[in-house]
Structure formats: structure tokens, C-alpha cells
């Protein structure tokens, strides 16, 4: 177990796409993952996507209320990170009540210790708060979205 020593904000404007359009969840997840690669958070795109798919295969990560949370712990992740995509048309993440409009790609380093994972736990808790979801649905500016998420999950 190598505890990660790198740090960085959970999300920045370059990891937000408010006009995400994709025919299926694999494409949507790949698109979000490419943003994280560009931001230097993921070292190996294909390896990371394989880890996400493995998790997704256990049970779809779509949740009622139009939320998709593809996620995994992966050795190809350097810093706990979330990529956010908003899709007006929606992307099917396997939820019973329809496609996801808010998609969070949650990436956790495999060797991270509990302190590093706390921020992701805080994020996960926000995802079931109505106000958090409403704010993101109404958002129009990527930088504002990244700021909002970071502020919300600050311990």
C-alpha cells in the first residue's frame, strides 16, 4: 500500500462539462474520464475505465432522481477527484426511473488512506441533498460549479 502524497482540489472548472451529450454511459464516462486525464488526475485512461466498468458491472450506479455516479478505486488515479457532467438529454446509468442528468465520475486512488477518502465521503453525502442537486441542475458556469462543489465538501 503506497499512500498517495499528491494533493489537489477535488474538482476544477476543467473537470466540469455542463453540456454533456452521449449516447450511452460508456461514452459519457469516457468523456468525463478524458477531462480528468487532461487535468493530470488519471495516469492511464483505459486502465481506469476498465476499473470503472468492473464496478459498474457489479451493480449499475444510476440512482433515482436522475443521478449517475460511475466510480471506482483505481491505481491509475493520483488524487481523489470528481468529474461532473450535466446532460439535458440524459444518459442511462441503469436507474429504474430513467436516465441520469447529473453525472459524477468519482475517482479514488487505490492506496488512499481514510483522510484522503473523507472528501469523497463528504461529496457522496451531498449527493442525496436536494438543495445540492437543485443548485447543480440550475448551474450555467463551470467555474461556479467547481467552486460550489469544493465549498460544499470542505470539511
Amino acid at each position: 500500500m503506497t499512500a498517495t502524497t499528491e494533493t489537489g482540489p477535488l474538482i476544477t472548472a476543467e473537470m466540469v462539462d455542463l453540456t454533456l451529450e452521449a449516447p450511452d454511459k460508456d461514452t459519457a464516462t469516457r468523456h468525463l474520464a478524458e477531462m480528468l486525464v487532461a487535468a493530470g488526475r488519471i495516469t492511464d485512461l483505459e486502465g481506469f475505465l476498465a476499473d470503472v466498468r468492473a464496478r459498474e458491472a457489479q451493480m449499475p450506479t444510476g440512482l433515482e432522481g436522475g443521478i449517475g455516479i460511475p466510480h471506482c478505486r483505481s491505481e491509475h488515479v493520483t488524487v481523489p477527484t470528481v468529474g461532473f457532467g450535466k446532460s439535458d438529454a440524459g444518459v442511462d446509468y441503469g436507474a429504474a426511473d430513467g436516465p441520469a442528468h447529473l453525472i459524477f465520475l468519482i475517482a479514488a486512488p487505490a492506496g488512499a488512506d481514510s483522510d484522503h477518502l473523507k472528501i469523497l465521503a463528504a461529496l457522496a453525502r451531498r449527493l442525496v441533498r436536494q438543495q445540492f442537486k437543485d443548485t447543480l441542475r440550475a448551474a450555467t458556469d463551470p467555474a461556479a460549479v467547481a467552486d460550489y462543489i469544493r465549498t460544499e465538501v470542505t470539511p
Binding site: M1, R55, E64, I106, A108, H116, R125, V128, R129
Partner: protein
């Protein structure tokens, strides 16, 4: 009301916390208190035992096994997956409320570890209170093993029975028995019904091979959580290899669980903890328990079996009814274990000799052996049908296939009953099988096939009296089991253990 909850999911970074948040929100909205333990990837902070003791009900919103579940023993429980909690927190809180109300008065407070005499305090984690409920814990461990065992008994047993049935339809009393069919890897044609019979029979046999390992593995799991599984399965597999049967599996599972409980007490730096539970404990546990089982049980069992076989051979010249009684006792004692095997193979050997020499004694012996092996599952099926309240819900479920398993001479159908309450069940079924074995001999029924139950009726000589003998033993055993389980103490233990093992969520 006060609730406690545990949430956990495969990855442990998202759903675990979402479920926790959802439950906390829902509880707050409904005016209840809740403390949630998030068993996520970052490790978890255990709920204070005092908080658990004060809780009215427990919610498990978990897609992976709840760790240290025994802390919540005896509480009204609602069980669901993490998504259930995320999507419908208020519904779950309402269910927990119902469960708390439905629980017997005082049950919420009277955990099995709550001190009867007022000493020790309600700390579930402390050793003292664990000692208080030793008997209850023991039964919880067995019942956990049994609850995982039942699907294997049902699937394997019914496949074997289906194999017998199909083969009877396909070939009647002509052609070979399904037990003699070549492996389906060598011979299988889709148009041939007896090949399908062989396929069912052979798959069923393989599934049956898991009975003892699954029992041992999940007994160890109940004692020591996930690190116990591999050593437990290893103990069970060695029990199979040395022919120790399900009793050997229970002993092995208990030993493995105890060893792993002890190994888990070793405190390690965080960096080593993962390797310790995932690699070192399974490795050391499997080696030690497997070694102990092989070296200490292997030879004694083999010589016990030799001794019993010689003894049976010596009895052949004497009273044949007495021989039937003894074979009956042996068949029911350990259902597929070493003693049962001796009796069964003695029957098969006698059958072979008789078929070669054209005498009847061996055919009678085989008949007694099969009849005595049919009564235990039938008796327990009967008892659990007549008096379902004396059996746990999972036992009641097992009672249904047990009819067919017994009728097919699959004695293992009684194992779930025997494993969860050995001291009451085993003597009862031994008595009935002894009666059946003796009666078959007295009636002079014969059997020219080594296996198959009612599906080999064409091979049974004097079949009506044969069925009378089986019915007599079945009724006697069922009566004795019901009587043994009807004591106040037995009923009390039953409820405690089943609820505490978390096998039956007390939800509406």
C-alpha cells in the same frame, strides 16, 4: 425512537455515505434519532455499544457483509441494499419503526448479551458479556452455517432426485441405474432421456460436494467475519477428504472460526492490516486448521470405519433384526459422515455379494440401509409441516424439499435440521431409523439397487411392508423431534438464535 444503522457497498467510497446521509435525513425528518456506521473504504468508526444497546431497531443497508454484525444481535432488524436506503430513506425508517413495534415487549432492550443478573452492563463488545451468552452464540454460529447450507442441500438434492426420476421414466427397471451412468463428459446425447438423468445426477452430486465446506466455511464466517471464510472452507474440504462428514465439518468450522478470532486480535500498523486479513490470516488459518484436521482426524476416522465394518461383518451371522436396528442407528447418526458411510457401504457390499451368490440376506441388508436412510429427512419434513412453530423459518423452508429428498434416499436432506440443533434432532432420527431398519428386516423386504428411494420401487421385494416400515420410523422420529423441541428452553433458544443470527429480518 432510536435507531442504529450500518451502510456498506462494494467500493466503499460513494453509496455507503449516500445511504448514511439519506437515512440520517429521513430519521431527522420523522423525528427519530439515528447513528449510522459507514463501513466504507476509509475504515469505519464503530458505533458505541451503549448506543446500540439503547437502540429500538437496526437497519442494515449493505451490499457487502456487515462487519461485526454480532454486535447487533437480538435487535429488531431491517435489511436492505444501499440503493434501497438512498432511494427510499423515509420508507426504511418507517419499516424500522414497524419492526421495533412488532418486536416482543422488551426484546429491543433485552439483547442476548444484556446481563440477566445485572452484572457487566450492556456492552456487546466486552468479553464478559460474550461469555454470558455462550450457548446462544454457539447456536447463532451453527444457524448461520446452516442458512448458507440449505440452498446447496436443496439444489443438489433435488437435482439428484430429478436424475433418479428421469432415469426411471427413461429406462424403467431395464437398463442401467443412474448411479452407474458414465460421466456426461464421455457420454451425452441430447435426445437420450437417461443422459439427461445422468446430467442432473452428476451436477447434483457436485453441488452436494459443497455441503460440508459451505457449512464449515460459514460457521467460521459467523464467528470471525470474512477472514474466517477461507480457513473454514479449508476445514470443511479436509473434513470431506478424510470422510469426517458434516459433524467433522462443524468441528472444523468452529476450530477455524476460533483460530481466526484469535488471529484477528493481533494489532498491526495500518499499512499491514490489509495484507494481514486478506493474505496472512487465510493462509495461516487454512494451513493450521487443514493440518490439524488431516493429521488428527484422518487416521482415527479411518480406523473407526475399519473397526465398525469388521464389527458389522461379525454381526451378520446373528439376529438379522438386531443388525437392521444397528444399521438404522448408524445411517441416521451422521448422514453422510463416517458412520453412515460404513453402514451404507456395508449395505452395498452385502448387495453385491448376494447378487453374485443368489442369496437374500444381502438384499435385505441393502433394503434396511436404504429405508433407514430415507426416514430422517421424511421425519423432519413431517415434523416441520405439523408443527412449523418449532422450527426456524429457514428450517421450515428446508422442510419442503426434504420430503422429496427423503423419498429419494438422500439422507443429507436432514443435515440442516441436525446441524442447527444436533442434540435434539440426531437422537430422535436415530430412534426412528432404528425402528425402520429393524422392521424392514422383520418384514423380509429386499432391494436390488444401491440407491434411488421410491424411484427404485421396481427393485424392491415386498414393497408395501417396506413403505410401512419407513412410515413407522418417520412417525416415531417426527414425534420425538417435536417432543424434544417443545420444551420451553428449546423454543426460547430457537427464537433468540434465529433473530440474533440476522437470518430473519424482523421487518414486515
Amino acid at each position: 425512537m432510536k435507531f442504529v444503522a450500518v451502510t456498506s457497498c462494494p467500493t466503499g467510497i460513494a453509496h455507503t455515505y449516500m445511504a448514511a446521509e439519506s437515512l440520517e435525513q429521513a430519521a431527522a425528518e420523522a423525528g427519530h434519532e439515528i447513528v449510522v456506521e459507514t463501513q466504507g473504504a476509509g475504515g469505519s468508526e464503530r458505533i458505541d455499544p451503549a448506543v446500540i444497546a439503547a437502540a429500538d431497531a437496526v437497519i442494515f443497508a449493505a451490499d457487502v457483509e456487515v462487519q461485526a454484525k454480532e454486535r447487533f444481535a437480538g435487535k429488531p432488524t431491517v435489511t436492505t441494499g444501499v440503493k434501497g436506503a438512498i432511494n427510499n430513506g423515509p420508507g426504511l425508517i418507517a419499516q424500522a419503526q414497524e419492526a421495533a413495534k412488532a418486536a416482543p415487549v422488551g426484546a429491543a432492550a433485552a439483547t442476548p448479551t444484556a446481563p440477566a443478573g445485572g452484572s457487566g452492563g450492556p456492552t456487546l463488545a466486552s468479553k464478559v458479556s460474550e461469555g454470558d451468552s455462550w450457548g446462544t452464540k454457539f447456536r447463532q454460529w451453527l444457524m448461520t452455517g446452516v442458512s448458507y447450507l440449505i440452498p446447496f442441500v436443496a439444489a443438489g438434492g433435488l437435482l439428484i432426485a430429478l436424475g433418479f426420476a428421469l432415469n426411471t421414466i427413461a429406462v424403467g427397471d431395464q437398463g442401467y441405474l443412474v448411479t452407474d451412468a458414465p460421466p456426461v463428459t464421455e457420454q451425452f446425447s441430447a435426445g437420450n432421456l437417461s443422459d439427461w438423468a445422468a446430467l442432473c445426477f452428476q451436477i447434483g452430486g457436485l453441488v452436494f460436494g459443497f455441503i460440508v465446506p459451505v457449512l464449515a466455511g460459514f460457521i467460521a464466517f459467523a464467528m470471525a467475519d470474512r477472514p474466517g471464510i477461507a480457513p473454514g472452507f479449508a476445514a470443511g474440504a479436509v473434513a470431506v477428504a478424510v470422510g469426517a462428514g458434516f459433524l467433522g465439518g462443524i468441528i472444523g468450522g468452529l476450530l477455524a472460526g476460533a483460530l481466526v478470532m484469535w488471529l484477528k486480535k493481533v494489532r498491526l500498523p495500518f499499512a499491514l492490516a490489509g495484507v494481514w486479513t486478506v493474505v496472512v490470516i487465510p493462509l495461516v488459518g487454512s494451513l493450521v486448521i487443514g493440518g490439524v484436521m488431516f493429521l488428527l482426524l484422518g487416521k482415527p476416522i479411518a480406523s473407526l470405519q475399519d473397526g465398525l465394518t469388521n464389527w458389522l461383518e461379525g454381526l451378520t451371522g446373528g439376529s438379522i433384526v438386531l443388525l437392521g436396528v444397528i444399521l438404522g442407528l448408524m445411517m441416521a447418526f451422521d448422514m453422510g459422515g463416517p458412520v453412515n458411510k460404513v453402514a451404507y457401504f456395508f449395505g452395498v457390499a452385502s448387495l453385491t455379494t448376494s447378487l453374485d451368490t443368489g442369496t437374500d440376506t444381502g438384499l435385505q441388508i441393502m433394503a434396511a440401509v436404504m429405508a433407514a436412510g430415507m426416514t430422517p429427512p421424511l421425519a423432519l419434513a413431517l415434523a416441520s409441516t405439523l408443527r412449523p412453530k418449532l422450527f426456524t423459518p429457514s428450517e421450515q423452508q428446508n422442510g419442503k424439499p426434504a420430503w422429496l429428498l427423503g423419498a429419494s434416499f438422500i439422507t443429507e436432506g436432514a443435515i440442516p435440521f441436525a446441524a442447527s440443533d444436533p442434540l435434539r434432532v440426531i437422537p430422535s432420527i436415530m430412534a426412528g431409523s432404528a425402528l425402520t431398519g429393524g422392521l424392514v428386516m422383520a418384514f423380509g423386504s429386499t432391494l436390488q439397487a444401491p440407491h434411488g428411494g421410491i424411484f427404485v420401487v421396481p427393485f424392491i421385494g415386498n414393497p408395501w411392508l417396506y413403505l410401512v416400515a419407513i412410515a413407522a420410523g418417520m412417525v416415531l422420529s417426527a414425534f420425538l423431534v417435536v417432543a424434544a423441541k417443545s420444551t420451553k428452553k428449546a423454543e426460547q433458544q430457537l427464537v433468540e438464535a434465529e433473530v440474533a443470527a440476522g437470518i430473519v429480518p424482523v421487518s414486515s
